[in-house]
Symmetry: C2
Subunit: 361 residues, 2 copies
């Protein structure tokens, strides 16, 4: 399943033969997705011709269809559920709409695609009609800003607010598609920006609302903004899709998403702790970066020189954070002191009931 938050289809690497690096149990959502993928019918042969043909099904950030006239259609869907992905006390309608659209557009960025249009499916209690209108308005505004204008949608009554966003995008004829599989041992690992800011921002927001603290410092406000109004890395995805071997967006935290990329590529990975760009300071900043989620930076793997040159040419900031290893080495973290430890596939997971990261969702 392509999805964003909570729906990546691949579980953690499971090829390690070292006992101390034995695979962790998959996250709740990953396990459920595997159950579902196991019962899906095989794809039937599609007669060619006039109809777009599914060429990339469940397992990446977005599905891809070959368009008869050339190019690829990308489709992805993502959900924001009240009480799971947002809290009415913390999240105004504007933030609910903007975050959900940005999260879905981020999946298009993760494939190297260009956004084209957005559909929303909104659930709301009839008593919350004004909130529903404001959520739809915010989603439409954000969709337009991101080049994926609202094309349609659906509204239905329900017990709690929920916003499901589908975004269509395209890979122009001849342009490269970025996938999770394809990373090779020896590749560099890169991220497109600081990590952990969204999780720290959520924690600050919660603290502000619950404790009614005084106003936040400017750097704290910036973290809250990272959470409330994330920025999909569209330019980075399109510019680097050809140079990188593999990529995805970091929606559930570097650790969990790196496990997914490693599993899809059949490789291991080593992250160097001192290189991870932190939005916050100290151990808390590191915890948020590794396990916090919702940053929507891209994680890329590819030849260091080629990826670096492409990033420099397109003026895309790119931070090297480690390297791709053999699968048997598992997914590890090299601590500042030089010791390698297994990096657990832990992160945001709606199915497990709570994020086990620092933000306490």
């Amino acid at each position: 399943m392509p999805p964003g938050k909570g729906g990546k289809a691949d579980g953690p690497a499971s090829r390690s033969t070292h006992e101390d690096l034995a695979p962790q149990p998959p996250s709740g959502e990953d396990r459920l997705l595997r159950r579902i993928l196991d019962v899906l019918p095989p794809l039937a042969a599609v007669e060619g011709g006039a109809v777009p043909r599914l060429t990339l099904g469940p397992g990446d950030d977005a599905a891809a269809f070959g368009w008869p006239g050339g190019g690829l259609l990308l489709l992805t869907t993502d959900a924001a559920e009240e009480g799971v992905h947002f809290d009415r006390r913390l999240h105004p309608p504007r933030a609910i709409g903007r975050r959900a659209v940005a999260a879905a557009v981020s999946d298009i960025a993760a494939m190297g695609g260009r956004p084209a249009g957005t559909l929303i499916s909104l659930v709301a209690p009839p008593s919350q009609e004004s909130a529903a209108v404001r959520i739809a308005e915010a989603a439409a505004n954000r969709a337009r800003e991101l080049g994926a204008p609202l094309a349609g949608g659906n509204i239905t009554a329900g017990e709690r607010l929920g916003l499901h966003v589908t975004v269509a995008g395209a890979i122009p004829p001849g342009a490269p598609l970025l996938r999770r599989g394809g990373a090779k041992p020896g590749d560099g690992l890169f991220v497109t920006g600081k990590l952990g800011g969204a999780a720290l921002g959520l924690a600050l927001l919660r603290q502000q609302v619950e404790v009614r603290t005084a106003s936040l410092a400017p750097e704290e406000e910036a973290l809250v903004a990272r959470h409330l109004d994330p920025e999909p890395r569209l330019a980075a995805g399109a510019a680097l899709a050809g140079a990188a071997h593999a990529g995805m967006d970091i929606s559930d935290g570097l650790a969990l998403d790196l496990h997914r990329l490693a599993a899809a590529s059949g490789v291991g990975a080593l992250i160097e702790e001192p290189r991870v760009p932190l939005a916050g300071k100290g151990a808390r900043g590191l915890e948020a970066a590794l396990f916090g989620g919702e940053d929507y930076e891209l994680l890329l793997a590819g030849p260091r020189k080629r990826v670096g040159s492409a990033a420099a040419a397109a003026e895309i900031p790119l931070i090297p954070v480690g390297r791709v290893t053999e699968a048997r080495e598992g997914v590890r973290l090299r601590r500042a002191g030089g010791v390698n430890e297994p990096l657990p596939p832990r992160g945001w997971d709606s199915w497990a009931g709570a994020q086990r990261g620092p933000s306490g969702r």
Copy 2:
């Protein structure tokens, strides 16, 4: 908003100048949709070139994008929410998945399109994991049967089961697109099959579960099957899109959907009661046909001869039910006795809290 159940964007005809045919207040969902459409940003100019361009936004059964290499991409989304669109006591997971996919594919049929692929966004309480897996399996199987293989999706925890289905389809280069607007006074009005069966089937199903009646007669079982496993009219939509002036699927009942088609076309309509093909008998059968919804037959308007010939050539059953009139005449029903009455824009409406049709949803 393109949608299926509950999300048509157009309200009832409001051009009548006859007091006795004064427009009814729009349905709850239509009113809410109008509020949302009012706050949406205008579509920005899209630079041409490599990206599909939105050519038909909210207001039809599906959105349409011009594909750079030719042809149109169609996108539609629909929702099935526990307690609103389905009831766990009545609807097994298989029916939940199959109905939701068929409803969304029906929107592609309503535009004259060919289905290409499906995304699902599933909400489920973690305690309902097995039901979630079976719903996804059923959705995937139905999607494959209908030529729209499951391409991806999303899963998230939530308090109640919910299934949001997005279907992509295509209009091949040069092939016609069927829209709600375009009906002209003098056009014939047609439907593709018997109406009211789904609503009567739901009532039988509820009766069977609640009263624990003995087994149903074969003709009753057929009505229940109409409700549990509807059939989108893909062949009819594709075959008649070029001959008809306007069309849509009947998801919320003939009356409400005819009001929407009339409003989008700026016309009135006259339905001849004795011509309406009824799935059930008598006054109850008529009530279900006019106001029951979920039949997913197509409603078409166009020149009688041209539409009739196209239907005959493609062996599509088509029943004439009335004609398109001037807008000032409103939307009316000619009773068996020859008297014309206003036909109220009444039907399935999740926002209004309940269907006011015979099935008592």
